[in-house]
């Protein structure tokens, strides 16, 4: 049984806004399947008394006080932007498929 179908890979590619060719879909579906099957083997050794792990360090409640700390100025904040206008990040029109 495959862990991930070609259709699922196509769906994920669309969500990630990745243009994937038909051949690539076949390739990635196969590769991702190998990865997922490998990870799934971990599940085989999990006993009922082992909860799913999302964090590898046994810590909770790491909180900070509500005190302002200096951030970046506008120039520094925008310095890595491909394009700016009026002190803002300039990006191409989005939501094309949702308008």
């Amino acid at each position: 049984m495959v862990a991930i179908s070609r259709d699922e890979v196509a769906h994920l590619a669309r969500l990630a806004r990745l243009a994937v060719t038909e051949e690539e879909l076949d390739t990635f579906a196969g590769q991702l399947d190998v990865i997922l099957q490998s990870v799934a083997r971990v599940g085989e050794v999990v006993a009922a008394d082992i909860p799913p792990t999302s964090h590898s360090i046994p810590l909770t409640n790491v909180l900070r006080d509500d005190v302002v700390r200096p951030g970046l100025g506008q120039d520094a904040a925008l310095s890595g932007a491909p394009d700016t206008d009026q002190g803002r990040f300039r990006v191409p029109r989005i939501l094309e498929e949702e308008a």
Partner: protein, 499 residues
Amino acid sequence: MSTTVSPTYDDVVARYEPVLGLEVHVELGTNTKMFCGCPTGFGAVPNTQVCPVCLGLPGSLPVANRAAIEATIRIGLALNCSIATWCRFARKNYFYPDMPKNFQISQYDEPLCSEGWLDVEVDGELVRVGIERVHLEEDTGKSLHLGGATGRIHGARESLVDYNRAGIPLVEIVTKPVPGTGAKAPTVAKAYVAELRDVVRSLGVSDVRMEQGSLRCDVNTSLNLPGRPWGTRTETKNVNSLRSVERAVRSEMLRQSLVLDAGGRITQETRHFHEDTGETTSGRSKETATDYRYLPEPDLVPLAPDPAWVERLRVALPEAPRLRHQRIRAEWGLTELEMQAVVNAGAVELIEATVAAGATADGARKWWLGELSRRANESGVELGSLGVRPVQVAELQRLVDEGKINDKLARVVLDGVLAGEGSPAEIMVARGLEVVSDTGALAAAVDAAVAANPAVAEKIRDGKVAAAGVLVGAVMKATRGQADAKTVRDMILSRLSAG
């Protein structure tokens, strides 16, 4: 094309049953953002309240704001929720530039608070609105769309993004579906949001100003035939005032009934509310929950609120606004309607503070709901932002009660207070507004008025007391309004009955 006759609202609620659901987002008033120490002030220069964390720069790590966690737990407690003993943040993945890191840190299946309720009063009846969850997330940046009409996304060619707001703690409060409200659905929706706003405001955790976007509301509406399963819901966004909440539900009920009457199906979708027309238009189709590929946020460790901490917060909660209003109404001796007017004007705290400063409840209420409300409306500001403090109102009323100024002069004194000229007593003296209580000067003015109006004086001597108004007017004019009308009238009557 068939001609469709729009059904009336009464017709719609006679045939369909609405089910409501409300999602309210409250921006917390913390000093700093949810996961970094950037300030949160409204209206700052674009991209000046940002840092590597809220810009999602590589290598930066978020750390949760204790004050925001505490505020969210307090909101949950005020809404009668259970507080999670352990929960995690989650990444909600999506590709809009309103978040610079291609995901928003939110909570998914482990909200901080869940399973609560809020009682809402509508037309004297209590409606219990179930609360599904209260969770904490980060707000998004603000986009300015260029090339489209009126800054909206439709037709836009490009967007300019300001990340000052990105990362500000945002509490999402989601109701359970609310069936059974019938024709009152729009009113219940509005009353719920108003009550929720009052609750959050009473906690002091947000300024909950809809016009500034610190309280935002999405309204879910569906219609079904009596006895049938609930219909497909739509989610109306962009509902930015209490009045709009009511209008959005109503307009969506009317629209859906038209579709259903024509044999059509309601599409589950996001719709946008338009303030100008009061109608909704279709927005993006709703992505299903799994499309956001939620995953436990690996950069933040789980939250495990100490039950003792939660208990301390519970004990320290303020009185619920609705119960507080009931108590105050009894104390002030107001009718339901009068209290409602006070609440609607946002004057409860102001009147309370004015009473605390020594005014009577009646006197304080008269000022805040009368002259001060009128001025606030004229200036288009909220009563609390008018620039008059309760202690000044109490002093103004005391000057009136002591007979030093009359109501007309008090309004002039108020002009001075608004102009920042000092305390009411100082203004009264500085502007020479004190009522003429010098009986010698008043008596002279009365004599002059009688002499100038012999015919009127004769009538009064003949017992036509009503004619005294003419003479009172003459005296008031002579004293430039700075006399007490009742005193003047009494003096005129005694002068002419003795004469």
